[in-house]
Symmetry: D2
Subunit: 467 residues, 4 copies
Amino acid sequence: KMIQECVNGDDDTLDSLLADLATVNNSRERANKLFQWLISPIPAKAFFRDTWEKKPILVQRKNPHYYKELFSTAKFERILREEDVQYGVNLDVTSYTNGKRETHNPPGRALPYTVWDFYESGCSIRMLNPQAFSSTVWNVLSILQEQFGSMAGANVYLTPPGTQGFAPHYDDIEAFVVQLEGKKHWRVYNPRTEDEVLPVLSSPNFSQADIGKPILEVVLEAGDLLYFPRGFIHQGNCLPDAYSLHITISSYQKNSWGDLLQKVVPAALEIAMEEDVEFRQGLPLDYLTYMGVQNSDKDDPRRTKFFSQIERLMKKLPNYAPVDAAVDQKARDFLHNCLPPMLTSEELASTVQGAPTRWERGQVKDVGAQINTQTRVRILRAGCARLCSDGEAVHLYYTTENSRVYHKEELKSFEIKPEHTDAVEFLIHSYPKYVTVESFPCDAAEAKVALAERLFERGIIHTAEPL
Amino acid sequence: KMIQECVNGDDDTLDSLLADLATVNNSRERANKLFQWLISPIPAKAFFRDTWEKKPILVQRKNPHYYKELFSTAKFERILREEDVQYGVNLDVTSYTNGKRETHNPPGRALPYTVWDFYESGCSIRMLNPQAFSSTVWNVLSILQEQFGSMAGANVYLTPPGTQGFAPHYDDIEAFVVQLEGKKHWRVYNPRTEDEVLPVLSSPNFSQADIGKPILEVVLEAGDLLYFPRGFIHQGNCLPDAYSLHITISSYQKNSWGDLLQKVVPAALEIAMEEDVEFRQGLPLDYLTYMGVQNSDKDDPRRTKFFSQIERLMKKLPNYAPVDAAVDQKARDFLHNCLPPMLTSEELASTVQGAPTRWERGQVKDVGAQINTQTRVRILRAGCARLCSDGEAVHLYYTTENSRVYHKEELKSFEIKPEHTDAVEFLIHSYPKYVTVESFPCDAAEAKVALAERLFERGIIHTAEPL
Amino acid sequence: KMIQECVNGDDDTLDSLLADLATVNNSRERANKLFQWLISPIPAKAFFRDTWEKKPILVQRKNPHYYKELFSTAKFERILREEDVQYGVNLDVTSYTNGKRETHNPPGRALPYTVWDFYESGCSIRMLNPQAFSSTVWNVLSILQEQFGSMAGANVYLTPPGTQGFAPHYDDIEAFVVQLEGKKHWRVYNPRTEDEVLPVLSSPNFSQADIGKPILEVVLEAGDLLYFPRGFIHQGNCLPDAYSLHITISSYQKNSWGDLLQKVVPAALEIAMEEDVEFRQGLPLDYLTYMGVQNSDKDDPRRTKFFSQIERLMKKLPNYAPVDAAVDQKARDFLHNCLPPMLTSEELASTVQGAPTRWERGQVKDVGAQINTQTRVRILRAGCARLCSDGEAVHLYYTTENSRVYHKEELKSFEIKPEHTDAVEFLIHSYPKYVTVESFPCDAAEAKVALAERLFERGIIHTAEPL
Amino acid sequence: KMIQECVNGDDDTLDSLLADLATVNNSRERANKLFQWLISPIPAKAFFRDTWEKKPILVQRKNPHYYKELFSTAKFERILREEDVQYGVNLDVTSYTNGKRETHNPPGRALPYTVWDFYESGCSIRMLNPQAFSSTVWNVLSILQEQFGSMAGANVYLTPPGTQGFAPHYDDIEAFVVQLEGKKHWRVYNPRTEDEVLPVLSSPNFSQADIGKPILEVVLEAGDLLYFPRGFIHQGNCLPDAYSLHITISSYQKNSWGDLLQKVVPAALEIAMEEDVEFRQGLPLDYLTYMGVQNSDKDDPRRTKFFSQIERLMKKLPNYAPVDAAVDQKARDFLHNCLPPMLTSEELASTVQGAPTRWERGQVKDVGAQINTQTRVRILRAGCARLCSDGEAVHLYYTTENSRVYHKEELKSFEIKPEHTDAVEFLIHSYPKYVTVESFPCDAAEAKVALAERLFERGIIHTAEPL
């Protein structure tokens, strides 16, 4: 069953939910609850078991207010007016007319004066990273990324009545289409072949003739949700009577077993070559005379033997696979992609950003309000820091100094001395519990405080009470 | 047994052997015979079975003339005088005194005036690529590369009496030390650990304390041969009473199963990701919470399951391994490394280099002496050309326009149209038999002649009779 | 006389002045008045005649409030807390103790918690581009750049009592040291040699022994101004009883006749070579035998003749000097360096940023409020756009889409078609008068409106009345 | 008068002349005599006064043997057969048919088999650097470069009967067309405009309509010479009854006063900015408001003043012009472009290349044959080495380790210590006289011998008697 109907009350709007979530102690639990709200009334467990990566699903909510606090045309207008939105960087102007897909971006800043002119002439407007401009979108995505263990992104689409902005295509991400205002007519199609199931790359634009018959056709109304896995072709257009504003939340780009194996397998081979002399033994003197494409039709027992040896060696590779190290490589990519955490006002008071040290009437005040052994601390989010080893040194990678703009900052890290790795691991695994700096498994009290200072200054830990 | 003694007659010197080999019809057979001469009296078959890549072996020949036509100090003198030998590029001046290894290259050309001055002051002289200056070395190496199916290289070393030019070390190649003139005292040591058996990279310079006791100690005399596999540490020094000239012939650098797997394995994974949806399925939502170095001590059933899945997928990889295509990648590297064939005077007359077309007394003569359907042709050497496919187009790669200077030329190739691949494959597999152009499996006679012309003009094929 | 004393009333504070200046019709006049305020009571005319680029001057104002609205420690605190100030990029932590100058920047964001800790331990804090964070500084500098015809920059320095943050040195810019809070002891020294008068590059750090005796020594108090030309060595330190906050406003970096000649002279030579055959004639056959350093001691009449010819040709170069084109090259550099204009609220209403076109309750409103032939327009600032030719095409370069962050944006320009250059020139030269679009010297009314639209959309022109 | 007729005897052929020239003591005199032979019977002095860079001239010699030893089709055939001539690098195949100019180079080596096939089908063959393959051409050009003080180059052209290989065009070099074999019909045209007199760059291909009427039309026969300056348009074609082989000797590319000024002028400005404060003074505050293209129609007295100041400053530049240093920059370019000297057999015996130190029967011989204080030495050629200063260090630049292949080697030089510069200058200015090492103006005898050794080892000096 691909369609869920339900009637939601007005109480569960996003702002009150986010206020409630701010009191949830554990960021993973918080992520869970927010995701459950997103796909409600489908139970998350059932969703991931039956639907995720498998098939589209539709929630028709009959509640136009459900998602409205996430984003709106009013916020869009405010952003265009107040923020430095650049055509081609933050916003695209597109059209799809008579089977032709075009982009109309002029150079320079996208101001209401020109954007609305494009809109009035029938163009669709796509905002590429609303999280850089909207705190609510930032907050929601930064929470959801902990649910997915993979970057959560978003685009906003505004489409004039009676138009379509994009050609039919499939994407390389799991997509949650959240209808914010107005209505949009959607058609979703099965992947065309087995090879296009859960594809690695997005498709080009298709023509209508390429894609067969839709498996799902629906008019999405404000408050409705449409999910479809990567590989499902889709197109949406506005009916003559209504414009549409929706946001698509996405995740799981390049997050497959194969993507991880691309890190595991070459590393496994390198280790095998170091550790197993069979991998270092010379190839047969004459292998070029019976192997290779020009010999592939030959019926030669040496070919069989050669294939067997290759197979035998390849089957030994799992013995050398550095799985945890490869996972850490993927984790580092993820940490670099992450949005920084958005702080609640309570959190602000307990982090370096809100520390009381300040200039006041010609003097520095409260510079003494420092961390000591009795201070109780924890990491700011379950996933905001990660201890990885590159074989030689151990580094702590963290997201708290990331930018809301994708990859504007380098991945942040610093080296953790061998005598401090236990303490950092202890901190990470203690989450969501607060622990005293005293309790860090380090030798010297000084070292404990110095480590805590360092983590606090980078926003990685916060304190149980304000300093 | 690591030592072979024998007494060779004078008849089998290299020049007469090379003259004989010129009449051998098949270049692979020729390579075989030359290699057999090199390691005589050890039978090649036994050598490759018992010694190659396994242990050192010594042949004491009591015949100072056996190798003397391969290279000599007289030829060295001639080369310095007549050719553009550059310090640091073609020739190194080195010393190893009191445990200190130094290089003394000045800038510019290496002329006898300065080279012999260095020699007289106790420095060793290493010529880096004698094949670029000596036709005999070129000829020998270009034949041996067909025996090894891997690049054959050479260095020449001239050492003054009572000195040593290099610190103890091991190399990443199979080494045949051929004593040409004088004498040298050699010590050979076992690899220090299992990990240094058949190593991937050469070692740094060792101190005497690093290397233990030699397993072989001998004074090599002119006509003697010392072979040792990569990984065996070695050092050679001159006794006070004699200088030494030797040439080291080497092969099998980066020619192991592992080197081939470095091409096979990533390609196999890429294909698996295209063809097998299991590789494209998403990773578990929460894998970052129990995998990775910071979780490696955790006893979590999800870890076991994760490892199993990685292993299961890696064990499927051989099903997708494009072995022949990977061999062709290695083959292309080899073809690029190859020395060009050295032509006998008979061959010259039957190749494009010796074609009779010429300028004579104000006119072009014999421009009509062209290939026709009745011309009988074959490829010039068993391994001088190879048909490879990159998935889209088929190219013929060939060595006949390579330079005697390593990688001075790009790898040469040209595209073979689909309608001509059968003909080229036919030609390659017909070797060493000559075939008429008529017999090429192409449709049109014109196409046959055009193809033969093209191959002839690049020196890939030669004719049974001179044109 | 290098010292001016005066007593200013409280009425002329910056905020009220800037409010007044917003009503000044001509941006150049506005720049004049603001500069006059900066150096008051010295008359600007006298200043530029007697002091500018010649000698230091000091204004002791006995009015601590005079400059206080320009910047303050309170604003500093606000910026650190709210904006993304990065160590090393936007802010430096320095010290100069016992003759040793050090920088102490950690990586990452500069938050009050760490900045004030550095300050308390005796470090000076330099904010590198306060104009990016403070609207008042931005406004002041963007006005002053029209006065100087050269980029106006600023740094803010906060120094703890009893410390010095920088070694004695000279800069490559004209410096206006504006004391905002507290006090600072300054010593200013003459350039050490003729060659260091108005130098091209800043000096390294000097030791006290290098610099002689000060020509001016003074304690600057809040409200005071100290000006010194490039090349004058200076050092400032805090007395034990007071911290110091000052801002240094700078201009005229690389803005000398020589800097312009670097653009004029090679271009003149290129043109001379094209137009004057004497420059293309061959050098004497034998000139290498009597010219050059190894012949410079020779007394050879041919040398005299050669020098004469060089001199003769060089003296012809002014005939070919493309002065206006070279000025435009310099102008382009300046336009790229410029801060964007800061709009008053009145201006906002008459520019594209404040145009009424907007989204309101599900619809676009006032998209029709467009420019027509009756609209009265002018360029936004006297110097915000400039018409330059590269010989082939004519481009309009403009500053209105520049960033407050130095060179964050490329220099902005677009091509002006030949039929529109007169209209653009007319617009530029009409400033500060408004003109109707009708009056543009173009052929077609359509073209006039299209041109005005284009200029309006990039913020180059604004309208007399709000659209 | 553009045509010279003469009848030369057979005695003055090139080989005997070169043998005679080998005995001329001074390389500049040798260059003179060889050039005189080239243009004989025109006196060189008259040629350089009346013709060089001014107009074409033709010598009809009625002596087909005069130039024949310089190059020939027989040598061409030899080179193709024996040397590694590469299409596109060393040799071009061209045609000009029905007004269309084409190049037909295949990839790879140019062997007679394919080259003559192209020739037979009507293509012209151009050999791009015969000096790399022909010792005579190398010898002639290496001598002539001392005559010109500028690189002497050459191309060889072979054209089939009844064809033309190139479109009409002009070059950027002085051209001496030397007819070697056969005949060629030439047409020479005046430069089309004043701007194309002595042009800086070669022209594109012209159509016949572009070029007007020839000022000279002639059939060049073997032994004839045609000279024309850069800028004169020319085309040559073969009559139906004869092929043509000619060599064009060229010089004076980028060797004009303007080319030297490109080095003088920016350096003069840099020095002026360092030494003359007028160049460092700031531009007028308001210059951008009246200067620049948009103000170029303004009638403003400030413009006049601005122009005057620019002119005044430019006219001061000759005072700062580092003419000798700039000449040395040009000299270094020339030394890098130079062919290495070709040694006579006598010279060989007195240079490092021919030094007696050698390997003989297992030993180094004559390593003691070294330079001592009594050795008489001189530089090898008047222009083979040059002492230049970059302001800080003094270097000796030299041509003796250049390659016959253009820029295959970097420009060679080494630093001369301050205490040796006098000795090197003494050596250079003593040429062509030999001087004893003793007589070097250095302090220590050891230093003298060490310096002489160093110069000898790089081939810069040779000895009066063989070592």
